[in-house]
């Protein structure tokens, strides 16, 4: 089993499987990029509406092709049908949002469930008819790459490349739209058209992704990789690129895993791979990860305790807090019996001086001080320039006589 997976990972499981894997990777990369913009535009749920409203179109196209050709499984026709009904669903969501006082979320909920219900009814009807290739239809619900034809894989890969190119061309326009649409308008960008473009790109990704992840799960590819990417960077274009990379990686892992054994569903495996990448980002990202913020919290707590301890030493007050004593002892500021050492007294004087400088700074620049991280605990020399400190020192009132 491990060996099969290894062969899938190294693209030695046959030409067809390799092409499917590459196609899925390209698709997932495009989904990650489109998804980043959609997420930043705060419309992540729209992809859910799109994917669910593909079902009736898909089923109808299957029915038409089945009656006409004898076999419903004609990918281009199915995708066209899916796209048509997704477009109709999107249009409805837009109209409901514009014409009524309902929010977009309510419109999405209403449209996606109605369309999906209609699609399910159509599928049940199809199952009572004797059209060939019926089993292929369920593949569009959870995704199936195993039996994918060479031509199908090629179509998906080609479309994904086209999408990636389109995103490259319009990356700045879309970014401006997401960050500040009003400003974009004053710059002569047509934001209405850009919003439409974004929706069309999203629709294309969803429709092409149907065969790979299935319509229920394709939404995950447009949300999870961007969210995971956000943990690693504060730069917009890097986030988009990283989302593409994480998406491609999920596609690679998911498709190769699903080729290990017959009947393993591709879509869920891709989504689980994406989730694993998200989990790693969530826990270990040095910027926003859980672990990093936990460590930062501990560091802050130590600093606060140390500062409080030193100030207490300076004022010759007794210290009872266990952690404070431990920290002071570890740094040699107090002896084991709690009496301050000469070094401890010097440190206490420094701490007091810092404290007074910060207090003065807070009084002079309240707005700036509010937004400095932990203003007052970081050594002032690390935050302010030497000139600024000199200026503060000059203004410092003479110290009260130490007791």
């Amino acid at each position: 089993m491990m060996e099969t997976w290894w062969r899938a990972l190294t693209f030695t499981l046959g030409y067809n499987t390799s092409l499917v894997t590459v196609g899925a990777m390209l698709l997932a990369a495009a989904a990650g990029m489109v998804g980043s913009f959609v997420l930043l535009r705060k419309r992540a749920l729209v992809s859910d509406a799109i994917s669910h409203s593909t079902l009736p179109g898909l089923a109808l196209a299957f029915l038409v092709m089945g009656v006409w050709q004898g076999d419903g499984r004609v990918l281009p026709a199915l995708l066209a049908g899916a796209a048509a009904s997704a477009a109709l669903g999107l249009w409805l969501v837009q109209r409901i949002g514009e014409r009524t006082r309902l929010g977009e979320d309510a419109a999405i909920g209403a449209v996606l469930s109605t369309f999906f219900a209609f699609g399910v009814v159509l599928i049940t009807v199809i199952q009572t008819l004797s059209v060939r290739g019926q089993s292929g239809l369920t593949g569009y619900l959870v995704g199936a790459t195993a039996g994918m034809l060479y031509s199908e894989a090629l179509l998906i890969a080609a479309c994904a490349v086209g999408l990636l190119l389109a995103l490259l061309v319009w990356r700045r326009d879309l970014l401006l739209l997401c960050f500040d649409a009003d400003f974009a308008r004053t710059q002569g960008f047509d934001t209405g058209r850009l919003d439409l473009l974004l929706l069309l790109l999203l629709m294309a990704v969803v429709v092409i992704g149907l065969k790979v992840t299935g319509l229920i799960l394709v939404v995950a590819l447009t949300i999870i990789p961007p969210v995971a990417a956000r943990f690693w960077t504060d730069q917009p274009m890097r986030m988009v690129a990283l989302a593409a990379l994480l998406g491609a990686l999920s596609g690679y892992l998911g498709v190769s895993l699903s080729s290990v054994r017959e009947g393993l569903p591709t879509g869920p495996l891709i989504v689980l791979a994406a989730f694993t990448l998200f989990l790693v980002s969530f826990l270990f990202s040095p910027r926003r990860g859980v672990l990093a913020s936990l460590l930062a919290y501990r560091r802050l707590r130590q600093r606060v305790h140390l500062r409080q301890g030193l100030l207490a030493l300076g004022r010759d007050e007794p210290i009872f807090d266990g952690l404070t004593l431990k920290l002071l002892q570890r740094r040699g500021h107090v002896r084991r019996d709690g009496v301050a050492t000469p070094a401890g007294l010097a440190a206490a004087r420094d701490a007091e001086h810092e404290e007074r400088l910060w207090a003065l700074y807070r009084r002079r620049y309240p707005d700036d001080a509010l937004h400095r991280e932990h203003a007052g605990l970081t050594p002032i020399g690390q935050v302010l320039s030497a000139d600024a400190i000199m200026a503060l020192e000059a203004e410092l009132p003479p110290a009260e006589t130490a007791r």
Partner: protein, 270 residues
């Protein structure tokens, strides 16, 4: 070519608004307002809360749809001449947790000059850094925008407008929620822009500073009440008409007669 039937003042003006009306839910919030921004001026739009000041700006810039009226930039329709305008929106209009650094936001002012195959250049970065230096934020270029204070965020938006080197800069309440030091820094930059011959148009809230900061005013409350040089238009009578008697005689006397006396009067608090 500009329409020959237009007045000279309209052709010379970087933003001439004529008969502008905007409505929300069948109710006009801006009704038939005219204002010809004098070139090279520093103009303030003044009025109580809900007077439609921001809406007027947004409609004039094509952000909000207008019901009627014309907006001309140097005599030509606005749509062809957006290049002459730079806009500084209200700070609260964007999500500051957006994945962007200060330099990224300032760079957005240059997006329209970049073609898709260009990946930015040293020259563009230099221009962005110059703008940041002008507002005193060059040390913050690599900061995530969410880590900035309100005043710093406002200065970043100003830098994004500066980088466009536009003839007219339009600001929507640039001094809302910033500290006194930032306000002074921003007004310094705006005055230097005017000294370069550029035009500024500001929605402004603080009546006490109007005389110090601006040379022209538009007083409005849905409709235009008065407009012109501060000395002519910023009068007790016009203020009373604009604020509908909400200013006390004491406040008015202080604003109109001895503007530098000091205490700030926040509009609409009474």
């Amino acid at each position: 070519m500009p329409d020959s039937r237009l007045g000279k003042a309209v052709i010379a003006s970087p933003l001439a608004i004529q008969g502008l009306t905007v409505s929300y839910d069948h109710r006009p919030v801006v009704h038939s307002v005219d204002f010809i921004t004098p070139p090279g001026s520093m103009s303030a739009i003044i009025g109580p809360n809900g007077a439609g000041k921001s809406t007027l700006l947004k409609a004039a810039l094509g952000i909000t749809r207008r019901l009627s009226g014309e907006v001309r930039v140097f005599g030509r329709p606005l749509e062809q001449e957006t290049r002459h305008l730079a806009f500084v929106p209200q700070r609260s209009s964007v999500d500051w947790d957006f994945p962007a650094r200060v330099i990224d936001v300032v760079g957005m002012g240059l997006y329209r000059d970049l073609r898709w195959w260009q990946f930015g250049s040293r020259q563009l970065r230099r221009r962005a850094m110059e703008s940041l230096a002008r507002v005193g934020m060059e040390g913050f270029a690599e900061r995530q925008i969410g880590q900035l204070s309100g005043g710093q965020q406002q200065r970043v938006f100003l830098a994004r407008a500066l980088v466009q080197e536009a003839d007219l800069t339009i600001l929507d309440e640039p001094f809302a929620g910033v500290d006194a030091a930032t306000e002074a820094a921003i007004i310094e930059v705006l005055k230097s822009l005017r000294d370069e011959g550029r035009t500024l148009l500001c929605v402004h809230h603080d009546l006490a500073t109007v005389r110090d900061y601006f040379d022209h005013v538009l007083l409005m409350n849905v409709r235009r009440i008065a407009a012109g040089p501060v000395d002519e238009a910023f009068t007790e009578e016009n203020l009373q008409a604009t604020y509908g008697g909400r200013l006390s005689p004491v406040q008015l006397a202080r604003l109109v007669e001895s503007p530098r006396a000091g205490r700030r009067v926040e509009a609409g608090q009474r």
